[in-house]
Amino acid sequence: MSLKVRVQKKYSRFLLDAELEVGDELVVIFGPSGSGKSLTLHTIAGLVQPDSGKIIAGDRTFYDSKRKIFLSAQQRCLGYVFQSPALFPHMTAKENIMYGGTGLDKTDLMRRYLEVIDLFQLTELECRKPAELSGGQKQRIAFARALIRKPDFLLLDEPFSALDMQIRSEMWDFLRDIRRFIKIPVILVTHDVYEAYSLADRVIVYENGQVVHSGRPQEVFSAQTMPECETPLMFSYMLSRGYL
């Protein structure tokens, strides 16, 4: 499946004008805070309506300003993991995950539930409420909840940024594992150079609401394209390995 996005959204002092195409790969949208990365995800998810453009997923049109088509988030079948795990505090881990199984019948829901808790190693945590869980555990539950109904694509809005380096590194491994089981477009928003470099099949660099670079991580983060990335990349790498 492919996801084609071309959106414009204007706010008083900011214009998002982005175009991207994502296949069954992990694309990282990389850029500084306020460059429009999360806004792009919000438009893809149907949480924000763009002013103009087109969003097409496979053979479904999610948004087309000319044809006046706008599907709500509920009609798009997507997985979205936010920066904070945003677990429902009144539900247990199991209830949180099951809540994501919209449209599945009881048997499928249970089967899918067992699959995701196995995949994310959550068996021991089923009955715990979010307040009793660590940051990494909460984020694993958020992933399981987003994936239980087999969404058509997965949007990750800086899901690891609030985690400490060790847990973040574990979560990266999880994400790599998941990608072996699910072949869907994954878009990860981050401003961490090392995260982008180590996870992406392809990197799209944003600046002031526009795509300024796009390509394989090695190309995008090369000294010629982004000389400013070399040093941060080295620092990030050293931090992740515990050298600093």
Partner: protein
């Protein structure tokens, strides 16, 4: 206990319970609109729903007469269709209690709904859940303590309603004399013994309800 005292207590509880039931239904709906939606006329709706809180009850009662009286805007139509008027019936006491208690429910529930993390609502939508489902499964459970507190306060306010009630329901012994009205009659006619009993009972009941509301409010923080 004097049968008229017992009648007044039962009538007050019946009126307050029915009014609170409708206050909860309508109040949660309006509070949701005010807390979550942006629409034309939102400020006007907010003001209209809050007015009974600041207006003298006699003014609220006056508006109710203008609306529901036999010659009122709506009351005239109802009387023409059914030959029945709500005025000077126990249902009128319910209506008056509903109107004066509604702002309390709306304000408490709105405050509780506004504390629900918007990101949780967005998550629910991205998981394919409709707005109604999100409301019942996410917003309501997370705001429930505030809603309970609002319901208890509304019940207490409905129990104590006097001014608007006496204007639309009157003071008909054995028919519309709720406790506050019966206390007023007893004090007026010098029946102090009966007044003492009812005042004591009323104070105890009201204090108990305030205690409950406080508990809910504290637990919701």
């Amino acid at each position: 206990m004097d049968s008229s005292v017992l009648f007044s207590i039962c009538l007050s509880i019946k009126v307050a319970a029915i009014a609170t039931f409708f206050v909860i239904l309508v109040g949660i709906g309006i509070a949701y609109l005010l807390a979550m939606k942006n629409f034309k006329g939102k400020v006007l709706l907010d003001i209209v729903c809050t007015l009974p809180l600041v207006l003298p009850p006699s003014v609220t009662g006056y508006y109710l007469i203008m609306l529901f009286g036999r010659n009122g805007l709506l009351g005239k139509q109802v009387y023409a269709w059914t030959g029945w008027s709500i005025m000077f019936s126990w249902q009128a006491a319910v209506l008056a209690s509903f109107v004066v208690a509604l702002p309390l429910m709306i304000r408490t529930t709105r405050a509780a709904l506004e504390t629900v993390d918007r990101e949780l609502i967005k998550v629910s939508y991205t998981l394919g859940r409709s707005e109604i489902e999100t409301f019942f499964r996410i917003c309501l459970p997370l705001a429930k303590r505030g809603i309970y507190a609002g319901a208890v306060l509304s019940f207490a306010r409905a129990m104590g309603e006097f001014g608007a009630t006496i204007m639309v329901a009157g003071n008909i012994p054995g028919r519309t004399d709720t406790m506050p009205i019966a206390i007023y009659s007893c004090a007026g006619s010098g029946d102090w013994q009966k007044a003492h009993i009812m005042v004591a009972l009323f104070t105890i009941i009201s204090a108990l309800f305030l205690l409950m509301a406080n508990r809910f409010s504290r637990a919701s923080v």
